[in-house]
Amino acid sequence: MKYTEVLSIASKEILLLNGRFLPVIDIAKPTTLGNWQKSSLSSRHYWEI
């Protein structure tokens, strides 16, 4: 198999990920709106996992 074929297959596999859950973290449910607003999660620049 050529490297271009492997890259093509892998790319298609990634495009098929839509809708999949990522088993990496589970962001906790805020108990109140106030709690969420005070949390770092409401600072939208920092949402990188």
Binding site: A10, I27, W47
Partner: protein, 242 residues
């Protein structure tokens, strides 16, 4: 973490024992298909995007010289928590493009001599791999208007293609001449993928923010969360009580 997860998912495909995907934790790119027979080893740089942020914060500074064989693709993975504010990450949409196309667009967008100069990394191939440089840099002209006119005449003297970016040694020497003779500052806010104006990536961005997710377009959720919309607390409370 999404990078690790993506590599795991790629390895669920049956590659017939010709190789397997591995995460390169600190190296470029994020994922490599290690194989004795598939050469050069295909690679994928994985960028993530949380589309409620103001922009795609991922950057792409890597020199095109590192993927001259077009053996590297870039994946952009857009994700949101299942319930917008909370829950497990869900992949909302994905984009794939060649790293060389992203780099070419970046060069065309940022390299505007003499005002903006993009430089290739120094040749660090003799160093150990952790000390090798792969990133391009960008500089902004800081001299006087008179100096700018002088610099402009120098660039004009380079001919019709003088403003077209080249990784060639000769062209890089010309750029070094400008940097050495005029005042420039390093621009650290460089190569954000959100700003390079890659046509296909721009289409992807537009598509993602117009995607309906839990009752609203993602761009509407963004307004709700930044409190620019009248729906506000009711919608946020609905998510918390979901």
């Amino acid at each position: 973490m999404i990078e690790f997860s993506t590599v795991d998912l790629l390895n669920t495909y049956d590659w017939n024992n010709i190789g397997s995907w591995h995460r390169q934790d600190t190296d470029f790119p994020d994922a490599i298909f290690k194989s004795e027979t598939v050469l050069p080893n295909p690679r994928i740089e994985i960028k993530t995007w949380f589309p409620l942020a103001t922009e795609i914060t991922a950057r792409f500074k890597d020199s095109v010289l590192h993927f001259a064989d077009d053996q590297i693709n870039v994946a952009m993975i857009a994700w949101l928590p299942k319930f917008v504010l909370w829950g497990k990450p869900v992949i909302v949409d994905t984009w794939i493009g060649s790293a060389s196309s992203v780099a070419a667009t970046r060069y065309a967008h940022y390299h505007r001599p003499p005002d903006y100069l993009v430089f290739e990394p120094e040749d660090t191939s003799s160093r150990t791999i952790n000390l090798q440089q792969t990133n391009t840099n960008k500089y902004k002209f800081q001299g006087s208007p008179a100096d700018f006119e002088r610099a402009k005449k120098i660039v004009d003297s380079w001919g019709d293609d003088g403003k077209v970016y080249s990784t060639s040694h000769d062209y890089q020497i010309k750029l070094q001449g400008l940097l050495g003779n005029f005042s420039y500052r390093l621009d650290t806010n460089f190569a954000k993928m959100d700003r390079i104006e890659h046509t296909s990536l721009e289409e992807f961005k537009t598509s993602v923010v117009n995607t309906v997710y839990r009752g609203h377009k993602i761009r509407q959720w963004s307004r709700i969360l930044s409190r620019q919309d009248n729906v506000l607390d009711e919608e946020l409370l609905r998510l918390i009580n979901d």
